[in-house]
Symmetry: C2
Subunit: 270 residues, 2 copies
């Protein structure tokens, strides 16, 4: 038994979809969420900058005594997971590998991946899928407007549908049978995306599969908790009001413990 919290890190609010799935799958675990809202979004930034930001967040959470780190952001996972796994002594779980694994398990051979510019540029999903099954065709497509649409409450609108049609057209032309939502914001637009892809395409939400990976890693390391009323704490680096407003769309419960923190000031020298 280990009652220390699991640290869940994202560039902003997107990781709340992962937080939600972990809290559902593991209701006895205390969770500490960190959203780097002072520097959101990561998706349009360079790998070097994302690595710097991710390290700062990870070391900040380590100081708060987390027993495990979940990188609940595809862009940060794609750019920084190997570095974090190498540097940290606690288990580190990213969102790309669980999504890739789920996609391979359901696909008939043609997988589409939609993600941020940074994640697509990294080809992290193609590599992760091919590491499991080299015969799967992977087509990646950046959807930069989706994050803004999800955050600004445009899910389900005609505008969201038209944007989805433009972004998904190249994937549908390539006859994908499976679509990975490779950005933690995208589950908010899931209904719209599913409308455009139609019934022939299976949608993989890596938030769900990441929660399963977290459960397995807790078991492997024998660090599970089973609190009867586990504490959920939220930390953000900026604009708490905006976070609270958007969090309502992403979570199915209210955010009770929210604090503003500064993670960039005392960064580790690396």
């Amino acid at each position: 038994m280990d009652s220390r919290p699991i640290g869940v890190f994202d560039s902003g609010v997107g990781g709340l979809t992962v937080f939600r799935e972990i809290s559902r799958a593991l209701p006895g675990e205390p969770l500490l969420y960190l959203g780097d809202s002072a520097r959101v979004p990561y998706g349009t930034k360079s790998p070097e900058t994302i690595q710097r930001y991710a390290r700062e967040a990870a070391y900040f959470l380590l100081e708060r005594d987390v027993k495990m780190l979940v990188v609940a952001c595809n862009t940060a996972t794609a750019a920084a997971l190997p570095i974090l796994e190498r540097e940290l002594s606690i288990p580190v779980i990213g969102v790309v590998e669980p999504g890739a694994r789920a996609a391979v398990s359901v696909t008939k051979g043609r997988v589409g991946v939609i993600a941020t510019e940074g994640t697509v540029r990294s080809r992290a999903y193609t590599r992760a899928i091919h590491a499991i099954d080299g015969s799967v065709e992977v087509i990646e497509q950046p959807c930069p407007l989706f994050v803004a649409l999800a955050e600004e409450g445009w899910a389900g609108t005609n505008v969201a549908r038209e944007v989805a049609e433009v972004y998904l057209a190249p994937l549908l032309r390539e006859k994908i049978d499976t679509l990975v939502l490779g950005c933690t914001h995208y589950p908010i637009l899931r209904a719209t995306i599913a409308e455009v892809t139609g019934e022939g395409v299976t949608i993989v939400d890596s938030a769900e599969t990441t929660a399963l990976a977290v459960e397995a890693a807790l078991h492997d390391s024998a660090i599970r908790a089973s609190e009867s009323d586990p504490k959920y704490q939220f930390l953000v680096t900026d604009a708490t009001e905006r976070f609270l407003r958007i969090a309502e769309t992403f979570l199915d419960h209210s955010v009770d413990h929210l604090d503003l923190v500064d993670i960039a000031r005392d960064q580790p020298v690396g």
Copy 2:
């Protein structure tokens, strides 16, 4: 005569619309542009964070020996201009006051202002307009999706038009006769915005009026330059490739001297 460059600072690429107008109005002036693309956008962030970022950028440009600072970002102007004016010994020009002045000079009494969440929350335009003429009605409207639409190349699309219709509807219901583009990204969407507002509404682009304010301030301080081939230099804090790609949409010439800099590391303690 003063051949030092004018520093032009923005959170990313939006300020290039201001840069363009300054280079047109003052073809003999060397210009040094700084885009804080590692932390873009500012529009959704808190005043305190924006102030910190703006000070870091200003001190960074001071070290590069600029003779004047143009804050070519409405959000940064709204949050940080008084602080920068107080702290810096060189002239500091923001984009809000010139836009407000232009709006008052053309309006029949009802001005709409579209801007980022941060600028609208600050009420900087309402205050600036009322400081000139207290009888003008000002209605402010945040348009958070416009930045992403402009940067991702969706200007002129049906999606951009539908989004503009949603955002502008409350202003048109209020019978505005003048519309201020209160974000330096919005001139990219000007044609779409004008289509939605129709001919009865005069559009004020603060990039143009800011260039005039820069010209006046250079004259007042007797620090004009008249280089026959003035140097244009561009500095960004991240993702140079993305900057180059988007800059093409914003400028009418190519970007020749672009460097990656780190402005957050050696910030002044204030």
